[in-house]
Symmetry: C2
Subunit: 303 residues, 2 copies
Amino acid sequence: MSIFRHTEFMKSGWRLNMKAELECLPCLVRQAREVAIMSTDDLQLQKKIMRSCFAYMSETNLDRSPPEIAQGIGRIVKSMTGIEDPYGEVKSLHTAAALEMLPEMEKIVSESDDPFGAGLRLAIAGNIIDLGAKERVSDKDISSILSEAMQQPLCGADPLQLKAEIDKAESVLYLADNAGETVFDRMFLEQFTSEKVTLAVRGAPAINDATLEDATEAGLHRVARLIDNGSGAPATVLSDCSLEFRHIFEKADVIIAKGQGNYESLSSSDANIFFLFRVKCNLVAEHSGFPIGSLVLLTTSDG
Amino acid sequence: MSIFRHTEFMKSGWRLNMKAELECLPCLVRQAREVAIMSTDDLQLQKKIMRSCFAYMSETNLDRSPPEIAQGIGRIVKSMTGIEDPYGEVKSLHTAAALEMLPEMEKIVSESDDPFGAGLRLAIAGNIIDLGAKERVSDKDISSILSEAMQQPLCGADPLQLKAEIDKAESVLYLADNAGETVFDRMFLEQFTSEKVTLAVRGAPAINDATLEDATEAGLHRVARLIDNGSGAPATVLSDCSLEFRHIFEKADVIIAKGQGNYESLSSSDANIFFLFRVKCNLVAEHSGFPIGSLVLLTTSDG
């Protein structure tokens, strides 16, 4: 996709609210199935859950953003199984695997001419790596994954613009995404003045998104003030967030939002947000103007 | 997957009825979306259709085979749009593209030491090629697709066993699958004594499966007696088929069934069936014992 197309699209389209499209529906059903399987081994209960999710999807407002619909699915599964955090164990494995990569990451950043840029790339790399595919990642894999992330082009805004905004900001709010990915965020956050950074995680388990417990496992309490957003959506759905979080959100000079979920739920916000994510589906590719697989830094100030 | 695993699985498992599994559900929703899009451009109507499909899936018997559930989805879309055959135009394009390949196919069969085996491979090749991906296939593509199909290993039963059964049979029933694929079936059928062959198509439009009209476009009336099965399922659901079809099915000495749908709906049958298909999903891979992408010839007489 050409830069021209992107620029045109950003001018005209990407500040619209991101609603679920028809193609999100099979994906949401796939997600429902995964959450059901993660929550119970009882096949009959899994089928009952799927029936309830279908009933929900036949009646709920499909014009909301995909993570809002996903939140409803998560609630159904939780109410039918009593399992609060079905991804708890998987999240710990991801965090542990990412922590094993820390020495390699520290080497990359310390040897770089541009530690901020290197940290930024690592943060997006964390959104690339699907740690779920392997419980443990071999040393060789780590190196190749990280070096690939350092070489792939970065699409969208100039990292120097983000750096300048952070430098002049009094408060920076960092919206985390998945557990495990948070270790990569930690490397990036170590390039800032930690006093002005608040890192927000989900207020309740939502798929494999990081909660306070997961963030602490990743050592994030060492590099930023931690809060939760009060919401159990796999995104930042402001209307569902706590008053405390919304207050911090409104006062923040710069917001850094990781992952597709945060982009999907905040793309129409008027706040000064920098979105960092990997494009993982057609819908976000269309909306952002960048093809699937792209590493993206987008800012609302361009809209 | 080893032959051992396959043999064990066939002995113990594959004659079980093939029920929809949890992983079929996102796929069925994807299919519902595709049928909705093929039937109407009206986004609001598409959303209404998806709601109705979700309501149906929340209440229908999910223990049936996937094509039976798909048939229900097709009925909903038809009742809400009035469109009888949403894939009509696409099917004609597929048939026309396949007819363009005929000279190449005739060359392959006539130059082969084993015309029956070559025809059999072409029939399975027809189940491989997704003509939907391109409206027209260039000559170069044709050659490479066909030569690949002639070289890929054939899994399962011995083609000579099928040939012997056909030779001694008084009646052969051939169950067709998709429009376009039928042209490949035609090449295979030309290797038989046409007097004893009846070719059955779907009794009503079902996704891109061939109906009598599609089969005639492909010239199948020249190589076999044509009937329809009286059912609008994208498969052979006997309880939904006409009495006439069921009578022919019961009397047939050999049945050749093309595609996953026919396998999914007939795998537990006691009839003398040879299934010819490409493995396209995990569920059929598990059930048949062969990995995704395999070209398969399976027979119920091994069960």
